[in-house]
Subunit: 241 residues, 2 copies
Amino acid sequence: MTEKEMRLKTAEIEKISHLDYFNIAISVDCVIFGYEEKELKVLLIKSDLEEFAGLYSLLGDLIRPDEDLETASYRILKDRTGLDDVYLEQVQAFGSIERHPSGRVITIAYYSLIDIKHHKLKLSHNELNWHPVNEIKKMAFDHKLILDSCLGRLQEQVLEHPVIFNLLPEKFSLRELQELYEAILGVELDRRNFRKKISIKDWLVDIDEMENDVPHRPGKLYKLKPEFKKRTLRKKLTQAF
Amino acid sequence: MTEKEMRLKTAEIEKISHLDYFNIAISVDCVIFGYEEKELKVLLIKSDLEEFAGLYSLLGDLIRPDEDLETASYRILKDRTGLDDVYLEQVQAFGSIERHPSGRVITIAYYSLIDIKHHKLKLSHNELNWHPVNEIKKMAFDHKLILDSCLGRLQEQVLEHPVIFNLLPEKFSLRELQELYEAILGVELDRRNFRKKISIKDWLVDIDEMENDVPHRPGKLYKLKPEFKKRTLRKKLTQAF
DNA sequence: AAATTAATGTGTTGTAAGTACATATTTACT
DNA sequence: AGTAAATATGTACTTACAACACATTAATTT
């Protein structure tokens, strides 16, 4: 059997076995967070399954045999947002037997953080849209559970690690940064204490520029120090063993 | 096609597709932690693969089509340790393409905490043994990576949550508890400050008993308050959607 | 041009937690 | 009875956390 024949055979087999519900399929789902108009948002698509008519679902896909988990997530991100230099973090696997109506699908959830303004996605033609996280009540599959779980992880991470900056443009004011923390954590913060805490962490550099399109006194602009720019928190799994 | 025929067909298909390396298999691997002789230990088995001769591996198995992830983990724990009321926590999925020499296997790592003395495992007949975590250098597959990742998660958890008590017998002294923290975190702690911190957390009850088999002045014994006994930290995923 | 408004930018004080450190007490052992 | 080794507890110092007030700057209005 040539390799090509095997691929064809395999494609056929996969189709059958998935249809038959006996094999276990594995997917990744990406919770893509963005920040706009003082709200944390998530990128969702209208579900194309009849069972979930009118509901939204996360962006995901089956993992291909020749790609690892991160590669699959980056493929989805690239396809949907056009971005490939994106912060990405694995959160948890979800594997309830009944979670997918068409069969057994275990999914691995990732969250990613992107700067909405910094990219143009093809929103129009496939009902792909940004939704305020706080307004989402029901979703297709167990995706609300996955979203909540990823939001929880994000809330933990922003307290300790400089990941929040992936949601902001390169240059930002301290007010913008504080509003973003408030949107993610769902709390109000004291401006003076916030600034003190941030300055202790020593993540930022004052770039000696000012805001220019605000209808009030402009604030100073800052950048994240380059040494804190990371695509993920976890160590790279460079070698299998 | 009857259901029985479908099952047979499927079994055949699975065999072929797994052999052909094109399908993706999915497993769980359990990092089973125990505590003995002032050392954090992990339960390992000699690898039966020729590629990994002499190396140890974690306890794991493929997930069956009719069980969810936790069920699979509990099955492994029950099979290997005889215990079924065990603390269990999902950590992370590992899915490098080359991580398993026989084909594509994505695994989901769990760690669990058990009281070594409280259970009898069938250690003798299958090279299943407790190994001090600090002495483990190389393992089969990517299991060292998985072990490190689970240890890291455990270290994070014990700082915030009352999970460490799953490694201890029902009754314990503050010295035993401190030694266990030191073993997990790999640091020395000040006895006086440790006791103050623990008492603030208000996790323990003084049961008005003393140690009795120590070669020195016996200390008071404590129990974890019942409201903190949990089998896992994460919320139960009771419903799929 | 002057007054107003609304945001920026910084400092103080009280409280709680974290760290370093010392002494008295109890039990087992010799 | 005396010694050794561990338990048990307390104090001073430092650092983080929380609540809070005032002067400054620039855009806007009068």
